[in-house]
């Protein structure tokens, strides 16, 4: 086990273990790992002093288990997801599809590449829902669903030409639990999507390159607060490079074991 030493949101020195997919975030990388399965890591206030103790409590602080400590927080009470437990005792964050969302500090992404993996349960197809997105014009995104009343999932990216390019998988009506993995490569104009460990689709429409802008990561809604996701978020992993397939599979297997998503 590697030990990670970092500063928490209150500026206090904390010692935590770096394990699982966090190991794939190398010292030269920018990336995050969130895991809602363990309530001991979650807090009901944004300065990590009030631990979440029971299902149904709102969550204001989700620690980044990666080496950078880019913790996700929510200062506004009504916009906090709640921590819940499924029938198998697995913890998750429940997003209400109205206003819930969490946000990290700004990540200096620095590249036009991203590998994104999330374990979720989509509970509604009524409106577009954002699982993960940055702020600004050059971003990556995971949506569930991808459109209004559409039983779809999508990984998208937007490069220098500011046109969204999406890899979309249809035929996934809510409720559906899954692990979505996507790769975004602005220079190569390729966005790909895997579902439950199986390659699904890609989009190779031109992005005109560029890099993803320095931005916070928003979990559960768009930056401005709209397009709120309805459902469960179990785990989120993101890194600013294209992981080899074997490493993506490693993250997928870890999320599968943690979430039971497939």
């Amino acid at each position: 086990m590697n030990l990670g030493l970092g500063l928490n949101a209150t500026g206090l020195l904390s010692l935590g273990s770096i394990s699982g997919p966090a190991r794939l975030i190398r010292p030269s990388d920018i990336g995050v790992l969130f895991d809602a399965s363990n309530r001991a890591r979650l807090f009901s206030n944004p300065v990590d002093t009030l631990p979440v103790t029971t299902p149904g409590q709102s969550v204001a602080f989700v620690p980044d288990l990666g080496p950078l400590g880019m913790h996700a927080t929510q200062a506004t009470h009504s916009a906090r997801p709640t921590w819940e437990v499924d029938e198998q005792g697995r913890g998750y964050l429940a997003f209400d599809g109205i206003d819930d969302g969490l946000q990290t500090p700004t990540l200096a992404w620095g590249t036009g590449q991203a590998t994104l993996v999330v374990a979720i349960r989509k509970d509604s197809d009524a409106a577009r829902g954002i699982v993960l997105v940055g702020k600004g014009s050059q971003v990556f995104v995971i949506e569930a669903p991808h459109g209004v009343g559409v039983a779809s999932l999508a990984v998208g990216h937007q490069g220098a030409n500011v046109l969204r390019r999406d890899a979309v998988v249809s035929g996934q009506p809510a409720p559906v639990s899954c692990v979505i993995a996507g790769t975004c490569d602005l220079a190569g104009s390729v966005v790909t999507m895997r579902l439950n460990g199986v390659p699904q689709t890609s989009n190779t429409a031109a992005t005109d390159g560029g890099v993803f802008l320095n931005s916070p990561l928003i979990l559960g809604r768009r930056g401005a607060g709209s397009l709120a996701f309805t459902g469960r978020i179990h785990q989120i992993f993101a890194v600013n490079r294209l992981l080899p397939t074997a490493e993506i599979e490693q993250v997928e297997r870890w999320m599968r074991s943690k979430s039971g998503a497939f």
Partner: protein, 119 residues
């Protein structure tokens, strides 16, 4: 208990003042964001939904005490006057729904998300 509130666009500032008074901190003055929902008549609303200890209605109906952070108490009092529970979203009222799951509350309020552009 889950609380869901529908606030007409014109009352968002007042409603945010009320939630700031009743809330945990100054960030609760941002409870209501954009008016992204509309009713059948096309009136726009901002929605907020959260779980509380079951005492929100009582606290919202009691005498307001100024919080430790800056807050427009006159606006909060106007919002308190406009707050009501039950029924569909409507103009000139901040309508609350208690005890319903988020999607059921949205249905009860009779609002739908306003379509937005792709990005």
């Amino acid at each position: 208990m889950r609380i869901t509130l529908a606030c007409p666009e014109g009352l968002i500032e007042d409603a945010n003042a009320l939630l700031s008074v009743l809330g945990d901190g100054p960030a609760d003055a941002s409870t209501f964001g954009a008016a992204a929902w509309q009713d059948a008549r096309g009136l726009s609303y901002a929605l907020a939904s959260w779980r509380d200890a079951g005492d929100f209605a009582a606290r919202a109906g009691a005498a307001l005490t100024a919080p430790a952070w800056p807050c427009d108490m006159a606006a909060a009092l106007r919002a308190q006057e406009a707050l009501t529970f039950g029924g569909a979203a409507r103009a000139q009222a901040i309508v609350g729904v208690e005890g319903l799951a988020p999607q059921a509350a949205i249905q009860h309020l009779g609002v739908t998300l306003i379509e937005t552009s792709q990005d």
